[in-house]
């Protein structure tokens, strides 16, 4: 525990040093070094915990009323700490190169970056409500400053505002939640909460709202597609890959206080997850900005994780051990998986942005030939996020599917419905994810550049390629190591169940082993086939020609399918949910004048929920402003009236 805190202190100290550093380069270097050193030290207890289980505690006095510096580490915290430890230094390393582009105050940004990382680590180990809240907001504020870093570009302000507002609203729910728990428990220590708030529905739903806002549950997801594109890419990687998981952590941590959950909690989470998953990926399809696509895809993945948690809750409520293990386990494994491939993809998108200065997919194309390794890594990431074997995304989804199968055993209507919902939901989400990421990858990296924007303006440095390749390897490593990783995951899951669960949950491990072998065979087979193909008599004879264009006279790069046209049929199927706005240009006559079409994808949550609410609020407030009309006489009347009314009323 002390080791962990020391590591965190090193990270914070590194942040301060780099904030006052003389040059950007030195600042970045300090930050990265401190992250590697600090998190390296912190990793020791975390990994020990993941392998052996158990729990540590450390409590120090704190002068704030009601607060104590209580820290603790258990497998659940350790599991969530893993992405922080892996992703943060990589993203920082990437960021040192990424930030060389233009920023003059990237030095202070490292302070916030390190504080963000440190706060995430601290959040995971804090065991006091007040402490938790403070760290929670430190995390929000430091990430906010990272989001608005590129404030000269104009778009950032809206993003920052929506993010700040969403996170604040979420925090209010969390505060409310802790108030309720604190009242019942009579203490602010987490260990006292456990007994006190068993079965409290209001606690649970406040947790869903409060932590859901951070995690990006639908419809509290609106900040994600704003904040992620606005932030520098290494920050989006960290935020989307790691920070939003803190919301999930908060939710599951609260679940440990709730005792045996009610069945409808689980169903609510399933519904929330399903909505978020499907709408998230649909909205991702409608986007043209590559980072917005990734942001919405985070909403989708959070949806999948939420479904898993919902399944776990139902398992707990039904006393179905397999469902608990597979539901929660799938969710938690997906947390780690998502953090790996999402940060990989965000960094990949960052490299694209860095070298071409545009995020709009329809202007890009053919980058695969110019930045080959980035393309390879991005391909791995997009295969993983589509949940395809042998990458890690599939393992998590497979566990969830197995959870669905496991719930069939119970034989009740409800458990069968759970299986049906999970299967249909995951199938739809997975199918749409394939649409989304074939599109994203191929439009950006394949074919030919659609406009001049697709030319490379800045060359990538090695620091921007290696982290991607590392993460790409990691997607495979996690997948192949899953039979062993799953043990640590199950260790964490045991903490989530109010009733003790026997340690060795075998069935899924053995299936996972088969899965891993099959995955390896798939890769080997593909390699073998490629090898054979090259060894064929004429296998290495190649001629080069133009693409077969069906006899068209003057093919042009701009005639390629664009991201919008690629997904058009799918979007049309879901017209009302993922609406695209745009003016259809008029084309008349045999030789029409040149024209252009612009479309923009709205967000259903924003358009149908928040904006009307703000407009309503404004309409409500407008007449009330007459109160301050500027006439001193009227003001004096207020005083006289107040006095008289109070006197008559109270005396």
């Amino acid at each position: 525990m002390e080791l962990l805190l020391t590591g965190i202190l090193i990270v914070i100290a590194g942040g301060f040093v780099s904030a006052f550093a003389k040059t950007n380069r030195f600042a970045g270097l300090t930050a990265v070094m401190s992250l590697i050193l600090g998190l390296g030290i912190a990793a020791l207890p975390v990994i020990t915990m993941l392998l052996k289980g158990g729990s540590y505690k450390l409590s120090l006095p704190w002068s704030m009323p009601g607060g104590a510096l209580s820290f603790g580490l258990d497998p659940l915290s350790a599991l969530f700490a893993l992405p922080v430890i892996i992703i943060s230094p990589l993203a920082a390393f990437y960021g040192t190169a990424y930030l060389e582009k233009e920023h003059h105050h990237s030095r202070t940004s490292w302070l916030f970056y390190n504080i963000l990382v440190a706060s995430m680590m601290l959040l995971l180990v804090s065991r006091n409500a007040l402490l938790f809240l403070v760290i929670w907001e430190v995390m929000a504020v430091s990430s906010f400053f990272l989001v608005v870093m590129e404030h000269r570009s104009g778009e950032v302000m809206k993003a920052g505002w929506i993010y700040l507002l969403a996170t604040h609203a979420g925090t209010v729910a969390v505060i409310f939640l802790f108030l309720i728990m604190g009242k019942t428990a009579g203490s602010w220590e987490f260990e006292r909460f456990a007994a006190a708030s068993a079965g409290s529905t209001s606690v649970f739903f406040l947790a869903v709202i409060g932590f859901g806002a951070k995690a990006g549950f639908f419809p509290m997801h609106v900040w994600l597609p704003e904040a992620h594109p606005a932030a520098p890419s290494h920050v989006s990687a960290l935020m989307s890959g790691v920070m939003i998981k803190m919301g999930i952590y908060g939710l599951v941590r609260i679940l440990t206080f709730c005792g045996k959950p009610a069945v409808f909690w689980g169903w609510s989470l399933i519904v929330i997850g399903l909505t978020g998953g499907i709408l998230g990926i649909l909205l991702a399809l409608a986007q043209k900005d590559i980072k917005r696509v990734l942001a919405y895809s985070s909403v989708e993945n959070i949806g999948i994780i939420t479904m898993g948690i919902g399944a776990g809750i139902l398992g707990t409520a039904w006393n179905n051990t397999a469902l608990i293990m597979l539901g929660y386990g799938g969710a938690l494994l997906h947390v780690i998986n998502h953090s790996v491939f999402k940060s990989l993809l965000f960094m990949g998108a960052g490299s694209v942005l860095y070298s071409t200065d545009t995020k709009e997919m329809d202007r890009l194309g053919g980058l695969g030939k110019k930045m080959k390794w980035t393309a390879v890594a991005f391909l791995a990431g997009s295969l993983a996020i589509s949940g395809l074997p042998p990458f890690n995304g599939f393992v998590g989804e497979y566990l969830l599917f197995s959870g669905g199968l496991a719930s069939l055993n119970a034989g009740t209507y409800q458990s069968a419905s759970l299986a049906v919902v999970m299967f249909i939901g995951l199938a739809l989400i997975g199918g749409l994810a394939v649409v989304c990421f074939t599109r994203t990858f191929s439009i950006v990296f394949l074919g030919e550049g659609r406009t001049d924007d697709a030319k490379i303006k800045r060359r990538l440095t090695a620091a921007m390629v290696w982290p991607l390749l590392f993460l790409a390897t990691l997607t495979l490593v996690i997948s192949f190591a899953s039979p062993w990783i799953i043990k640590s995951v199950f260790l964490a899951v045991r903490g989530l169940s109010p009733v003790p669960i026997e340690m060795n949950y075998k069935p899924s491990s053995s299936s996972l082993m088969m899965l891993v072998i099959s995955g390896a065979v798939l890769m080997g087979l593909a390699g073998l086939l490629y090898f054979i193909r090259r060894r064929l008599p004429m296998g290495d004879v190649e001629t080069s020609a133009g693409t077969w264009d069906c006899g068209y006279a003057k093919p042009d790069a701009s005639m390629q399918y664009t991201s919008s046209s690629f997904v058009d049929p799918v979007i049309r199927l879901f017209g009302a949910l993922a609406d695209r706005k745009g003016k259809n240009p008029q084309v008349r006559g045999y030789f029409p004048a040149s024209t252009s079409l612009e479309t923009d994808a709205g967000d259903i949550g924003e358009e149908k929920l928040y904006r009307p609410a703000f407009v309503w609020l404004e309409k409500f407030a407008a007449p009330l402003r007459r109160f301050q009309h500027g006439h001193i006489h009227g003001y004096l009347i207020y005083i006289a009236l107040t006095l008289i009314i109070l006197l008559i009323w109270k005396v």
Binding site: L428, V435, I517, R533, Q560
Partner: protein
């Protein structure tokens, strides 16, 4: 016994390319033509394998590795397909889901390879392919769920072994619904009429064929072989569900199984001959109705 299991995929590798041949012969029969030889695909593949290949300037590494990956994914699928009660060499809980995702891998690479060429037509095909693909996915997975519920078994081999006569008597109607739905999927996924027309040469109307327009030589051979395997996989699954293969004596099973597969091929041929190609916008309806069939089966199973 072990060897026997391994024989299954190997036989599948050999038999699979015949199925398109059968379909073509049936179609030729209905059209009153003599048709190409039934082993035409073998000849084609053999010829292609000995050729060099032509690549577009536009293409990148994706285009080159895609055929191997596609073929590998489909080959791997055959390892999970049992022949009646003769279980497949590899089998684990939920391997049908793995099959579904392997098919997705194949589709994924087909699509990105098509996009790699930068051709507007291939883009069009890719766009349609992913659209139909995501629609087909729920139907397939719901079908799996029905089978799992009916047989109370989670691996493919386990499911097929447990499709005994008593199960048939109990929930035969559900199995028929699933088989019908999967037959629709077969037509969709393998680009058959009424969804797609493998024979047409009008690029605008094609889906799968247009995506592989730019392939040549051994790459194209891999792709053709992969398509044949895919057809085999779907046929095999349908045969396993529809025919009570597992109830027969063990020596009879391979024969019935292969005969059934040929039967499915004939059925596809008949379907192609008597039905016209659908308008593209109505295709999603077919696939959605396949999902609906599976869903109905599910509801029946849960309630009834």
């Amino acid at each position: 016994m072990k060897l026997l299991h391994w024989l299954l995929p190997i036989s599948a590798f050999i038999i699979a390319p015949i199925i398109p041949g059968i379909i073509n012969r049936v179609k030729a029969f209905f059209a009153g033509r003599r048709g190409v030889p039934i082993l035409q695909l073998y000849i084609d593949i053999w010829k292609l394998l000995r050729k060099g290949s032509t690549y577009s300037h536009t293409t990148s590494f994706v285009f080159r590795i895609a055929p191997s990956v596609i073929a590998a994914a489909l080959i791997l699928c055959t390892f999970f397909i049992p022949w009646g009660s003769i279980s497949s060499p590899v089998s684990f809980s939920g391997d049908l889901i793995f099959i579904a995702y392997l098919l997705d891998v194949a589709r994924y690479f087909t699509v990105i390879a098509a996009m790699d060429t930068g051709s507007a037509f291939e883009g069009m095909g890719a766009s349609r392919e992913v659209q139909f693909g995501f629609l087909a996915e729920p139907a397939f997975l719901m079908g799996i769920l029905v089978l799992v519920m009916v047989t109370k078994n989670t691996s493919t081999s386990g499911i097929m072994q447990h499709l005994s006569t008593s199960v048939w008597a109990d929930s035969g109607i559900l199995l028929i619904l699933v088989a019908t739905a999967w037959y629709f999927l077969l037509l969709t996924e393998n680009s058959r009429i009424p969804v797609d027309d493998p024979n047409t040469h009008l690029e605008l109307t094609m889906i799968h064929e247009v995506m592989v327009l730019d392939y040549s030589g051994p790459d194209f051979a891999y792709i053709l072989y992969g398509s044949a395997l895919k057809l085999w996989i779907f046929s095999a699954l349908i045969v396993n569900i529809l025919l009570p293969v597992a109830a027969l004596p063990i020596w009879l099973q391979p024969i019935v199984f292969i005969a059934g597969t040929a039967g499915v091929a004939i059925l596809v041929g008949i379907t192609e001959s008597i039905i016209a190609r659908l308008r593209l916008v109505t295709v999603p309806k077919i696939i959605v109705s396949a999902s609906a069939l599976c869903f109905i089966a599910l509801i029946f199973r849960i309630i009834g």
